[in-house]
């Protein structure tokens, strides 16, 4: 792989929780514009990896290079502002807000008007608000969730919540989008929709995506390259076809049916 083109380079990450080693010396890169899947059995350390990338966990060893520069240790909200958006395995939405407000909040760091400008130049603030609103409406159309625009998301079924969460991450116009099991717990139809959205995001917005997924069929369909993890270590890395034919991977992962 050509290192200089990597949007993100993850090098030798080791992460421990007390006695548990969640990640051990894991390295891989994420190229600009690709869909990078991370697969592996439960407890393999996939979510931990995503949490390290988004700054929710801080590794004991190793480093992350973003756009060619080593990223210093920083709090997760600052990493988000650098253009890394994410969804969570257990869905973290603003459950008391509507779909529209949730997705609007995804743009909060792109919004300029603060309290003072709001009071002094009401007109300008309104105009900015409506510009953001337009972009958010485009995302709502894109994800086909017009009918639930005004519904508090706490009341939505699981599958739709996952979709809103994707919308909120997209609203930030991220350089790197991290999706932790975006299709978990969905029925076949919902999964197909989600697959389509992920591919469309890549096509239409050119967003680089790293996603965790269990369903091998899905992984083969959507991803350009795959990292395979087991017991906190990387045991495979390559195109879906390469990974599928790798004996280690077959032993460790494909034997475990989900």
């Amino acid at each position: 792989m050509n290192d200089s083109a990597a949007l993100m380079d993850i090098r030798n990450i080791t992460l421990k929780f007390g006695g548990v080693t969640a990640l051990e010396d894991v390295s891989f890169d994420i190229q600009e514009g690709e869909v990078r899947a991370i697969i592996g059995p439960n407890g393999a350390g996939k979510s931990s990896m995503l949490n390290v990338i988004s700054g929710f966990y801080h590794p004991q060893e190793g480093g992350i290079w973003f756009r060619g520069e080593r990223r210093p240790a920083m709090p997760s909200h600052r990493i988000a502002r650098q253009g890394v958006a994410r969804t969570f395995q257990n869905i973290a939405l603003f459950s008391r807000m509507t779909t529209l407000d949730n997705i609007m909040t995804g743009r909060v760091t792109l919004m300029r008007p603060n309290l003072l400008t709001h009071m002094l130049w009401w007109g300008r603030a309104e105009r900015e608000e409506s510009e953001h609103r337009e972009k958010v409406e485009r995302i709502i159309d894109f994800l086909e969730i017009q009918t639930i625009r005004k519904t508090p998301v706490g009341r939505l079924p699981y599958g739709l919540q996952k979709r809103v969460e994707l919308g909120r991450a997209l609203a930030a116009e991220p350089a790197l989008l991290l999706l932790d099991e975006p299709m978990a717990g969905m029925n076949v139809e919902e999964k197909e929709d989600m697959c389509r959205f992920i591919l469309d995001v890549k096509e239409e917005f050119g967003t680089t995506i790293a996603l965790i997924e269990h369903d091998m069929g899905v992984v083969m369909d959507v991803s350009d390259r795959v990292v395979v993890m087991d017991y906190g270590r990387k045991i495979g890395d390559g195109t879906p076809d390469e990974v599928r034919n790798n004996q280690d991977v077959i032993d460790a992962y494909l034997g475990v049916q989900h």
């Binding site: 988000a80 969570f88 603003f94 407000d101 609007m104 909060v108 309290l115 930030a172």
Partner: protein, 328 residues
């Protein structure tokens, strides 16, 4: 109009004015509750501390004078200046912002992702600390606030109602000012929490810490902002109550009045705090006026709580509070 009815109207009007002051205190609670799901036990003490600081700065009191004199055997008490009211309000405000920064650094920062009850305990600790600290810094003598607020009954209202009904209402001018200030404050807070970028971030933090972080919101910054605004509200409440009854320890007990207001109006609603305050203010005064003599008076001490409890039975989330929906 019958004399009895006129009395009742006058009592209600005074109740409304008292209610505005209750609402002011309750507002401070609502702000912090909205942003962190915590009942800030220290809000009342913050009002006391803010008022003490205002008076202290204005009169050029040397902070910790007692302590300094004990240690160094000196006899210092005053800088010898008298600051204009406006400047001392600004300084007191700066002090409340500083307090917010310190609270965030020393307490909140270490309690991210903890249960609300732990945060609640922390605010109890903060209340006792701040009470002692205020004492040490500014002394425990009762102080008067003199920043040019009007006192005494409003003559024009007296005259106007006399001409109208043949009975002049007694309305304190201080109460009228308090009502106006509260109205302004509410407008400010509504704009603040509904329309500004910070308001949006504030609601996000209140809802889900992780999600807020993931969209780039700094929890710590939001907490400093929220506690600063709560400090500002405490300053306003402290000044208004202090102007009425002197700046003294009992000021911190107004927090106890805010609790029934919140139960009535809902812990998360700014309009709820206002309406709840007004209902309690009027209800309390009217009840005492109508039924006080029958039950031996002093109903103001307990009426608010009984009203709030009765209310809880029928509408646990309060008038304007959000319904709690549990996912199953």
């Amino acid at each position: 109009m019958s004399q009895q009815l006129l009395y009742a109207i006058e009592v209600s009007l005074n109740g409304l004015m008292a209610g505005v002051l209750y609402a002011l205190v309750a507002l401070g609670f609502v702000l912090i509750y909205k942003a962190s799901g915590v009942f800030n036990y220290a809000q009342g003490v913050m009002a006391l501390f803010a008022a003490l600081t205002l008076v202290g700065f204005q009169n050029g009191q040397i902070p910790f004078a007692h302590l300094i004199n004990e240690i160094f055997g000196t006899q210092v008490h005053h800088f010898g200046w008298h600051l204009p009211a406006f400047l001392s309000v600004l300084l007191a405000l700066a002090m409340m912002v500083l307090l917010a920064v310190i609270v965030e650094k020393l307490v909140l920062k270490h309690l991210i992702n903890q249960e609300p009850v732990i945060l609640f305990m922390a605010t109890i600790g903060l209340a006792y600390f701040l009470e002692g600290f205020g004492d040490l810094m500014w002394g425990s003598a009762i102080k008067k606030i003199e920043i040019g607020l009007p006192y005494g009954p409003s003559d024009s209202i007296d005259q106007f109602t006399y001409d109208l009904f043949g009975y002049g209402f007694f309305i304190d001018r201080l109460d009228i000012v308090a009502a106006l200030v509260a109205a302004l404050l509410v407008c400010f807070l509504t704009v603040f929490s509904q329309y500004s970028k910070i308001g949006r971030a504030l609601r996000a933090v209140a809802d889900d810490h992780q999600a807020a972080l993931s969209v780039g919101i700094s929890l710590r910054f939001i907490w400093v902002v929220v506690w600063s605004v709560a400090g500002f509200v405490a300053l306003v409440a402290g000044v208004m109550w202090g102007a009425k009854s002197g700046v003294q320890f009992s000021l911190s007990l107004i927090a106890l009045k805010a609790l029934p207001v919140l139960m009535l109006g809902g812990f998360t609603s700014i309009p709820g705090a206002i309406v709840g305050g007004l209902i309690i203010g009027v209800g309390e005064k009217l009840f005492d006026f109508l039924l006080g003599p029958l039950v031996g008076g002093a109903t103001e001490n307990w009426f608010a709580y009984v009203l709030a409890l009765v209310f809880l039975v029928f509408r646990p989330q309060g008038l304007f509070g959000e319904r709690i929906i549990e996912r199953v």
